[in-house]
């Protein structure tokens, strides 16, 4: 299985370990990732807060570059980038006047986007394309006895784009269990951690993070696993 791969800015910096593990796991499971050439920042929440046309154009540039590799899905490890690119896709599809303007902007870079790229989160690819059975078969050392709280964060499941339940998802739980560990109950598993405002609203973000840890701890978790480098 061959995919285009979008690392995103955080995987090159503080979340480098996420990129290392992504590449290692994909190699072991025969998932071929080819990094999207000359990708740019997806724009995240910041651009959409300042100017929607620029935000859609930035995301659109990545989608246009990915579309060049026909038939290949775009795999993203970063939940923020995943949702930003998918939202851009959906918005461009639903609002033709904006799409027309975005097309004009992309034309400046000699690019075109026809809406043909599907952005997928690495977790969803592992569950749906690789399959839990294949993952289980590849386990060399089971994580027996490890109690893990699965933290999804908000961006991978909301707004609802068809992947897992928007408030009480189960995919990461299943993945953890296929590795032999125990996925502890975690009612706040998709509650926001405050990540996007960690710099400007430190107290708010830290309070939210504290609540998450308290919930995980109260349910007997020894550690937390997350799929979002922002939450990380």
């Amino acid at each position: 299985m061959k995919y285009s791969y979008f690392p995103g800015c955080s995987l090159e910096a503080t979340a480098q370990s996420y990129e290392v593990s992504t590449k290692a796991v994909c190699k072991a499971l025969d998932v071929e990732l080819e990094e999207l050439e000359d990708w740019n920042c997806c724009g995240a929440t910041a651009f959409y807060s300042i100017d929607e046309l620029l935000a859609l154009s930035l995301a659109g540039r990545n989608l246009a570059l990915a579309e060049k590799k026909e038939g290949r899905d775009l795999v993203v490890s970063c939940s923020g980038c995943y949702i930003t690119l998918e939202k851009a896709n959906a918005t461009l599809r639903a609002y033709p006047p904006l799409k027309a303007q975005a097309d004009e902007v992309l034309a400046e870079a000699g690019l075109e986007y026809h809406g043909g790229v599907k952005t997928r989160h690495l977790l969803e690819v592992l569950i749906n394309d690789v399959g839990l059975e294949a993952i289980k078969a590849n386990v060399k050392k089971e994580l027996r006895g490890l109690r893990v709280a699965p933290y999804y964060g908000c961006q991978i499941v909301r707004p609802r784009l068809g992947f897992d339940h928007p408030e009480l998802p189960q995919s990461l739980d299943h993945l953890i269990e296929s590795l032999g560990a125990d996925a502890t109950p975690f009612p706040l598993k998709s509650r926001c951690c405050g990540g996007p405002l960690i710099l400007s609203q430190e107290k708010l973000a830290l309070d939210l993070i504290h609540e998450l840890f308290r919930s995980a701890d109260a349910n007997g978790a020894q550690c937390l696993v997350t799929v979002c480098p922002c939450a990380r």
């Binding site: 929607e52 400046e108 870079a109 926001c192 609203q201």
Partner: protein, 241 residues
């Protein structure tokens, strides 16, 4: 005699260092590198009601379906910090309270977690409305230009407009320069820790096609935001649960 020359030398060094510190603060902090300043010149309300203005933004047209049930405010993790929580904001938009909303901190505290949108029984895209209000605020008064979240988003945008990708140093460095330079000094221990774990690249990675990207940004500046003109209200649909 020697002690005097030495003291003068050290005092001179101190003055020069402070000068550089303040100078950089003024240059960087004063928004001279604000790449989105052109947006500030596009202020002014569009003809029609405030509801129409919000409805012109993607997702904003769903505002009309709001029945003030309060599910959004009840779900919002940041509602307590907002001057006006989501339900109130929706009512204020319908009441046309443009100045009060656009000067408030409400939408800037939105974490974009979409819990409100997910749970709204009427299909109101509250998060998208918050984004629309942020963009309107930027055009209205710079979005409370020096408020912490506005500075954070502006710095993010400036960094990406410069090199095409975001770096930790660029974002946090730029953010602290513009808000609280002395706080940057307290981040040094964390910075060193990250550096030792190879989690803090000092040389930013760049997009090779920066020239094309800059052309794109320039083009986006020139395009008339026609979609921001008041449009026919979209039909209101209630989602099936």
């Amino acid at each position: 005699m020697e002690t005097i020359t030495l003291t003068i030398k050290y005092v001179a060094y101190l003055i020069i260092m402070l000068g550089v510190f303040v100078g950089v603060w003024i240059v960087v902090g004063r928004g001279l590198f604000d790449t989105m300043r052109w947006l500030l010149r596009q202020g002014g309300a569009t003809p029609g009601s405030l509801t129409d203005e919000v409805a012109a933004h993607p997702g904003g047209e769903t505002l009309r379906a709001c029945i003030q049930c309060g599910t959004c405010t009840g779900s919002c993790p940041a509602a307590n910090e907002m001057q006006f929580p989501p339900r109130t904001i929706n009512a204020m938009v319908k009441a046309g309270m443009r100045d009060e909303i656009l000067s408030s901190n409400s939408m800037w505290l939105c974490l974009s977690c979409y819990l409100c949108t997910e749970r709204c029984p009427r299909g109101v895209k509250v998060t998208d409305i918050m984004y629309a209000l942020k963009r309107m605020a930027i055009r209205y008064n710079g979005g409370n230009y020096w408020a912490s979240t506005t500075v954070q988003e502006r710095t993010f945008v400036d960094c990406v407009n410069l090199t095409g990708r975001l770096t930790e140093m660029g974002l946090t460095g730029g953010y602290f320069w513009r808000t609280n330079p002395l706080k940057a000094l307290t981040m040094i221990p964390l910075g060193l820790k990250l550096l030792s774990h190879h989690r803090l690249p000092l040389i930013p990675s760049r997009v090779k096609g920066m020239r094309e990207l800059r052309a794109m940004i320039k083009k986006a500046q020139t395009l008339e935001r026609e979609h921001l003109a008041p449009q026919e209200p979209a039909p209101v649909t209630t989602p099936t649960v």
